[in-house]
Symmetry: C2
Subunit: 698 residues, 2 copies
């Protein structure tokens, strides 16, 4: 099973802090272990001779060597306990004790020390502030929760211990079963990335599910999860989606919440299937763990109930699946075998007087159709329909077809027995058609994710040293903002910029304009003036013989606006033909969790009023860059809608790739906007630049 | 209880077609009635002397007079049976028999005849193709379904009988209880509007819920429902939301599906709370039937489980509610009474070792806060928490506070007893926090709806006769399209248009331009050329001395484009200053169910590419017209974003109101577009018009 054998398949578990005091966590741990675990249980506590009948050792040193240590001593004693375990050669430790990073500065210090000890002894440490871990194949319940999970193929991590206890009792009743369950606690050492990797390698895990309130290292997560999800489906609830929720999460875990837009982009790029509610999380997980893969997106619906059939069709329409179109031959067979009043087009309505045999005939004829990749059996209770027999029929038909089948046998107590029959055989049954569709939808989402082509960032030929020196110049100016004077930064990374020069006298300005040999654009260059247009600091379409006067005007306006402004000069820039062009924006800002977020949109109102933008975590490959362009609502304008000449989308895609490389190469770039990047039929031109540099990072 | 006393409180029910043949619907009806109904049961069937022990009459004439007749004879015998009931003075009839409008042209003819008989005898008829009706206060189950509803205050109509049978067994288990249940069937006579009105008047109905696949008369529905929903909440699933679903619904009911956008607008204007799934429908209904009204939108969350608390906060953020901000005094009290590790800001985390007393203290302190309008108790199972005692505590606290409280005691079998205790007292408990929030959200939505001001359409002073004669001129031309030549239509309804005249020779063109005394716009006027700009049929900024030449050019281009085109002349129009103005579109098309749908948006790409439009069913009042302007994403552009001069929004609102009046006055207008309607700082101008007239309707 790869990594964490000692965590999930330990032969001897030591509980440091074990006790038989009533109501204590130390007692709950031993009780839970005692219930199913076949290995050896070793209580460690200097104050006891035995705990619940097990011999108790005074300290780790005197105990037999243990491969999993569970620590439940008071906070000040935790560090010594973990050190003792390290000294004794234990490489897997779960710290149950709370009072670390989640509780003020003293706790945070203690957590740093804990991490240092774990590093020193190479300990894979879960927690602190953890409910514990479970491993159903080993019968291991090293938690202090009230329930143990049923054995299955879902591995489950949670940043909230209470979330685990809240879910397990319900899951047991719903027939949802698990392989490993980990309460990751404060993630001082092991975090979500470690468990993703471990479970990806684990043969027994079919689906990874998780409840997370934050991700420690977004870049590492995206990279790891992308590999994992190309094979093993990962379904997550990331809570704190809303502003109020984010605030609650950050007060719960003590971590700063990253922005929801970063999470949305990062989780999507990582191939994570995101759920927003607990029921959705497990509806998806159940579908992914119990059903075979889809051969096509077409769904067949077989029902005895018109209304519920329509509702199921709506749910399919809302999902990433589609209603299957039957072949003529299928329609013919259904017409021959069904009563006249039946509907033989999908959804198949076998009508209210259908018995199980008629359901079977319709289901088999649908499954034989090559356009059908999955089927949903939807029924309302009737006098002639035996639900148990219907359930048995579905299981029987399933033997002969690979196609995933889910059921929506609607009703209450009337369905209980049939639901049990289905559940025991791994067929999820739902009351609500939309939830029955959710399981299949998860399969379709997983197919889409595994079908994504590898999309490694292109390594463009760039002048990294030149870029570095431009950034260092900003540092030398003891000023962390870059403007038009630093357009060379883009040039160094191969992003086209118009011919331009910054000059500091009017005569030189005229010379430059004469060289350009056409009307020019002139812009004041000052790190202190960021909205140049607003103060009249930009002149467009200046003829050569007006250049000198315009120079004086621009400088006068800047002085007038801010007498103390540092004026670096005036930029004389080649005019870009805007007639057949579209103004776009490419930009970046750095998220505390995910690092550089790239943004693309059309300029002006499209970004500011309509908020029509696409966002990705850098670095990105060409496919992702292209999807950034495609996914904005206004994309048809770039493709030539309304009689426009199409913009050079390849050039935009390349610019996004080069920008991705620039911001990845230089963590010192905190934010950067190219606004506008003018996209014409034959290429792009970056017209203006604003960036902020963290000179410490250079 | 108002209307339908005979339907829901009959003293004697006759079943025409009653039988004791095993497995028959006629037997199921008598059996179901026999079970709980206290009134008299009268089987009618010429072939039987008794049915299930009741004396059976050979025909309606020989039976005692009955106030509810249930008809279950074969299709060809239904008409005579209903006529006999009418002759005998029965005014309430339910036709169970299928084989009418849903099954081909013969059935449709039979349904028309059925409707005529019902009208002749003034019969309130349910069906045909109905499962029947239930009335729990009367113990009446006049359906052939397997279950009877529990008695409660939810009245429930469904266009699918199977939807009722699918729901009832589940609802009984979930503790959801009903007052009246009606399977409306084909709605030959009584439809959704009739039941809305009846249940609105019914004291015992707190909430109306429904499953509908279509609405017969959208205009009547909006008008009726608007009145009803100002008091009684109405929650509907309208299925066929998606394209595939709409197709399935129309094959199920035989009705043409109206457009989803019309339903969305109409249901919203009607104040209907729309649910998209079965669970959501009843989550909303349960909240609305069981909880008292909200005094404020602030929600307090009290939990022993951090993660589920964050999830609940997210769910509140997704809803129309908000997380309550506690007063300082509340924070102080909580700080004093809770342990140090507890979170005293909302959500209140009473932490994992909380017992019921600590939950009670926190809940009471929160409820005493004036900013708290509702509360959610969220818990995960722990060793120290008794769920039954927690449930009893919630019920006890509820005695002292008016504030609605819902619970999310998470778990499976461990929660069963507590859930039963809560359910019996009318407190819904949910496993998933998002569903617990849904019930409260429905209260908030209902508050918003009842708080809507009456918004009767303004009756503007218009020249209706002049408008009629313009429309009749189009009819005379044996041509159903109107263009710029009919701008007077707008003028007659007080919508501003620029000075313009249509001329048919170049000299006259020049004269008109001289009168306007500025550059003009010239447009070819031809009913055969709808995209004038595309063929070069529009000239902008024409100086007076170019008018004659331009006239010839425009006519030549039109002839060249289509030699047979009928050319009415050239329009000479005052130039409208577009510099400080925004182009908008106002339009209308007529929906088969809902009638005139008004559309508003900014012109060009905003409508065509970004689809940024708002839609309402006409007629509309001023508030709705204003909300049409406010709800488009680009609305800030009209309000003066990015340094623009604000547009005259009042003038746009008035134009929408006048257009609403025009299209309501003239059903002959099938579609109409004013594109552009130019909105400047001091008013609007309609620049161009296209409309289609159904001359039959004039």
């Amino acid at each position: 099973m790869g990594r964490f054998t000692g965590l999930f398949e330990p032969e001897r578990v030591g509980i440091v802090g074990a006790t038989d005091r009533d109501g204590s966590i130390g007692r709950a741990l031993v009780t839970n272990l005692d219930e199913h675990y076949d290995g050896e249980i070793v209580p460690i506590n200097p104050g006891r001779d035995t705990v619940l009948g097990y011999d108790c050792y005074p300290d780790v040193a005197s105990a037999p060597s243990i491969d999993l240590g569970v620590v439940v001593v008071p906070p000040p004693a935790v560090l010594d306990a973990v050190r003792d375990l390290g000294e004794a050669g234990t490489r897997n430790v779960v710290v149950i004790t709370a009072g670390f990073g989640e509780s003020g500065s003293e706790g945070a210090k203690r957590e740093r020390e804990l991490r240092a000890i774990a590093e020193e002894y190479d300990i894979d440490l879960v927690g602190p502030n953890s409910l514990g871990v479970m491993s159903t194949p080993a019968g291991l319940n090293a938690t202090f929760g009230p329930d143990i999970a049923r054995e299955g193929s879902i591995s489950f991590m949670s940043q909230s211990g209470a979330f685990i206890t809240a879910v397990l009792d319900w899951a047991n009743e719903e027939g949802i079963s698990f392989r490993h369950v980990v309460s990751v606690g404060n993630k001082a050492v092991l975090d979500e990335v470690d468990f993703l990797r471990a479970w990806d390698e684990d043969e027994g895990t079919d689906v990874i599910v998780g409840y997370l309130e934050g991700i420690e290292d977004g870049q590492a997560f995206v990279q790891a999860a992308r590999e994992v999800t190309s094979e093993t489906p990962v379904v997550l609830v990331k809570s704190g989606r809303t502003d109020a929720g984010a605030q609650a999460a950050s007060s719960h875990t003590g971590a700063i919440a990253g922005s929801e837009e970063a999470y949305r982009a990062g989780l999507d790029q990582a191939g994570v299937i995101r759920a927003s509610t607990v029921e959705e999380l497990f509806d998806y997980a159940r579908g992914l763990s119990g059903l075979s893969t889809l051969e096509s997106e077409g769904v067949a619906i077989v029902t005895n109930a018109g209304g519920p059939g329509v509702l199921t069709t709506d749910a399919v329409g809302d999902s990433s699946l589609e209603l299957a179109s039957f072949e003529d031959a299928t329609i013919g067979e259904l017409t021959d075998s069904m009563p006249e009043e039946a509907a033989v087009y999908n959804p198949i309505d076998v009508i209210g007087d259908a018995d199980v045999d008629r359901f079977r005939t319709a289901l088999e004829q649908a499954l034989a159709d090559p356009n059908v990749g999955s089927a949903i059996v939807v029924s309302a209770p009737t006098a002639v329909l035996q639900y148990e027999a219907l359930a048995e029929m579905v299981l029987d038909v399933r033997e002969s077809y690979e196609t995933p089948i889910v059921t929506c046998l609607m009703g209450g107590s009337r369905v209980d027995t049939a639901e049990g029959i289905l559940r025991d055989a791994g067929v999820p049954n739902y009351f609500d058609p939309s939830r029955a569709v959710a399981g299949l939808d998860a399969l379709a989402q997983h197919d889409e994710i595994t079908g994504r082509a590898a999309d490694d960032p292109t390594a463009y030929d760039v002048d990294r040293e030149r870029a570095r020196s431009i950034l260092e110049r900003a540092a030398d100016r003891t000023d962390n903002r870059l403007g038009v004077e630093s357009m060379d930064l883009l040039d160094a990374y191969g992003i086209p910029t118009p011919t331009s020069e910054i000059v500091d006298d009017p005569i030189r300005a005229r010379d430059v304009a004469e060289d350009i040999d056409a009307d020019v654009v002139m812009k004041i260059v000052s790190p202190d003036i960021s909205h140049k247009s607003d103060i009249g600091g930009v002149a467009v379409g200046v003829a050569v013989d007006e250049v000198e006067d315009t120079y004086e005007d621009l400088v006068a306006r800047a002085r007038n606006y801010q007498p103390t402004a540092s004026i670096l000069g005036v930029q004389i820039q080649e005019m870009v033909d805007l007639d057949a062009a579209t103004e776009t924006i490419v930009g970046m800002n750095r998220d505390p969790q995910f690092g550089p977020l790239l943004l693309f949109g059309l300029g002006g109102i499209f970004v500011e009023i309509l908020e029509d933008t696409s966002i990705r975590v850098a670095p990105i490959g060409e496919t992702e860059a292209r999807s950034m362009v495609d996914e904005i609502t206004a994309a048809p304008l770039l493709r030539g809608a309304r009689g426009r000449e199409p913009a050079d989308i390849d050039a935009i895609v390349e610019t996004l790739g080069r920008l991705s490389q620039l911001v990845t190469d230089f963590p010192a770039l905190v934010e950067l906007d190219v606004n506008p990047l003018v996209a014409g039929p034959d290429g792009v031109q970056a017209i203006d630049l604003r960036a902020t540099v963290d000179t410490e990072e250079l």
